[in-house]
Amino acid sequence: MSMGQGRRRRWCGLACGVLLALLPACAPRPSGLEPPRLAVMLPPGERPFWEPIARAFERRHRGLVVDLVEGPQSTDLRENLYAASLLARDPTFDLVYMDVTWTAKFAAAGWLLPLEDRFAAEELARFLPEARAAGEYGGRLYRVPVRTDVGLLYHRRDLLERAGLAAPATFADLERNARALQSPPETWGFLWQGRQYEGLVCAFFEVLHGHGGFWVDPATLVVGLDRPEAEAALGFLVRCLRAQPISPPGTTTYQEEESRRLFQDGRAVFLRNWPYVWRLAQAEDSPVRGRLSAGPMPHVLGARPAATLGGWGLGVSAYGRQPALAVEFIRAATSLESQRALCAPTGYAPAREDAYADPALMAANPFLAELRRLHAHAVPRPALARYALASDILQRHLSAALAGTDAPGRALGRAARETRAMLGSDVTAGAGMDR
């Protein structure tokens, strides 16, 4: 009898345990009574400048909460967090604050709502055409640009003037001037980003187009990496590091910040980087303050200079609960007023055309006039769904050539072959879907 009772008690305990374990699953779900919420994840440094934009939007939409989630500093990590959330069809983020290179991937994965019908043609016409086009994939709009970036060449104006030299127009000028003005290892001629990562692709992309070459034509999927222009372009970068180098040996480990620090310490004549450097290098405590100028990357005779197009924009998650409000937020976040709030204190280049005629913005950052001119040279990286794979293939072989483990021509030949194989599988996959 006592045993039966004991067993029953144990059974009760077991049942209670199981019920307790299941309890969290029955927790009340957020009901309609909770205030509607719009969430977006931002780089930590940008969040303070988005605050006024978010608060203004909340004032116009009574009872709405705009949640500006502070993500990690690294672009890759934020992309992963967004990807993990969207893969799980999780409604946490209503908006995706995205880099230009995410557009094709996120759109092809079906994670974003197409936006072309949500905006009037004249609204979209207000943006810089390059920045707007970078938000399109497969003929539809998935991302509205907020700010834009272009690669450019910074010069030490004081050193050039003292030597009576002009800013370099061609790669030959750059090499000659760098060699004339440098005294390594204290001062180097030309700094750029040579670590195996996206920044290397950006730097090479500019040199490639400056030599009249191309990477992948996104329309025809023709790969241009094994053409003579590409070999000449990579040959130039390799030459920067070899016999009588104009770039430090550490270039193959540099990302933007390593090269920016060296340049800002006054230890280089030329630097390839993004617009953010200007504000930092002109700060009160910068050794090179007031001794800089900037211009487009060089080119060879017969080709045009090129500036890799970067930048950030907003897309609407396919799994958010408030798509209509999210679209409204994008409209508000890309108003001239919001562009002022974001770009005046930070020095970011606004995506709206009329921002470059705005007296307040231009007074806050006179460098914007130069950036507007540089946009004439902006070239977008190919909009491929598997862009990341194409970029990794290129990075790997460029890096091998820079490290000296492969000859430029051979490295590019391999990169071209692997890129074709990757695109080929994509093409046949598409054909398979039609059948």
């Binding site: 092809a108 040996p249 480990t253 390593e258 598997r386 820079l402 490290a403 000296g404 483990t405």
Partner: protein, 295 residues
């Protein structure tokens, strides 16, 4: 009868724990194995198509996979070998009686307690060509002329990864070996001393054989862990230069998150895990045989 009842009850009581384990371990593993037989297409959504063994066939022709496998093997072999030698040395030191031994033992564990990503960042700056401490020291000593870009060429980048890993995980090996040393009865060593064996002979003939099991445990743990290295190369080199430090884990991760190729990424992960399991089984088999031989 009551015994049978108890067993059934025991099984029932184990059930919640087994269910939890199944949910968090078995289900994801099975899902990865299943995904490994698929081809992924990105076309207005992520579409999975059954592809059988095709992803595995692709592995055999993928130079990048072979490169990653080679890098992982070099990294694992070099770092585990060095950690073993240094770990035993450190353990022998810490086994001696000296003033402040407790403090020394605690301090030695500090690298092991640091988050890998953070210490990797610190090492990346140490190896930096222009601002790095290493070049500064070597330059002052007159050992190098001009800064060396340690992370900039394939050989030195791998060396840098191994150094960072050895710095971080030698304490782990030392800890296991120290525990092994403490398990060796003092009379055994005393007898060896009485028999007139020199210190080197005592180490080779007595200590090392008795330490065998703990050494094998340390090697097995470390080999499998080093084989899965991800955070160190991710932070220090990003797999570069020229893919010379890309590990199997890094490659699997990139297939998943960067290319959204869950099929191929899973094939890489499954193949990688199978090879790691083989490695562990071989080491454990070795441990078992040695144990039996001695018994």
């Amino acid at each position: 009868m009551s015994g049978a009842g108890l067993t059934r009850e025991r099984t029932l009581l184990l059930f919640p724990a087994l269910l939890l384990l199944a949910l968090v371990v078995a289900v994801p593993i099975l899902r990865v194995v299943q995904l490994g037989f698929h081809r992924v297409e990105l076309d207005g959504g992520i579409a999975l198509h059954w592809a059988g063994l095709e992803p595995y066939a692709r592995l055999w022709q993928d130079g990048r996979w072979w490169g990653a496998l080679r890098n992982t093997a070099v990294f694992t072999g070099a770092s585990v070998a060095l950690e073993l030698v240094l770990g035993v040395a450190v353990a022998l030191l810490l086994h001696e009686r000296f003033r402040g031994r407790g403090l020394a033992r605690a301090l030695v564990m500090v690298p092991w307690a640091l988050p890998t990503a953070i210490m990797a960042l610190a090492w990346a700056w140490i190896f930096n060509d222009a601002f790095g401490v290493l070049n500064d020291l070597l330059g002052r000593l007159g050992l190098v002329r001009g800064p060396v870009a340690w992370l900039g060429s394939p050989g030195t980048a791998m060396l840098a990864l191994v150094v960072a890993d050895v710095w971080k995980t030698t304490p782990f090996v030392a800890l296991i070996v120290l525990a092994g040393l403490q398990g060796i009865p003092e009379p055994v060593l005393e007898a060896a001393r009485v028999d007139g064996l020199s210190a080197a002979q005592r180490f080779r003939r007595v200590l090392l054989p008795l330490l065998g099991p703990s050494l094998l445990v340390a090697v097995a743990f470390r080999a499998v862990q080093a084989y899965g290295a991800f955070d160190l190369p991710y932070v220090m080199t990003g797999g570069g230069p020229g893919g010379a430090t890309e590990t199997v884990s890094l490659y699997a991760y990139r297939n998943y998150f960067r290319y959204l190729d869950f099929g191929y990424g899973s094939a890489v992960a499954v193949q990688g895990a199978l090879l790691a399991a083989l490695l562990a089984a071989a080491l454990m088999g070795l441990a078992g045989r040695r144990g039996r031989v001695r018994a």
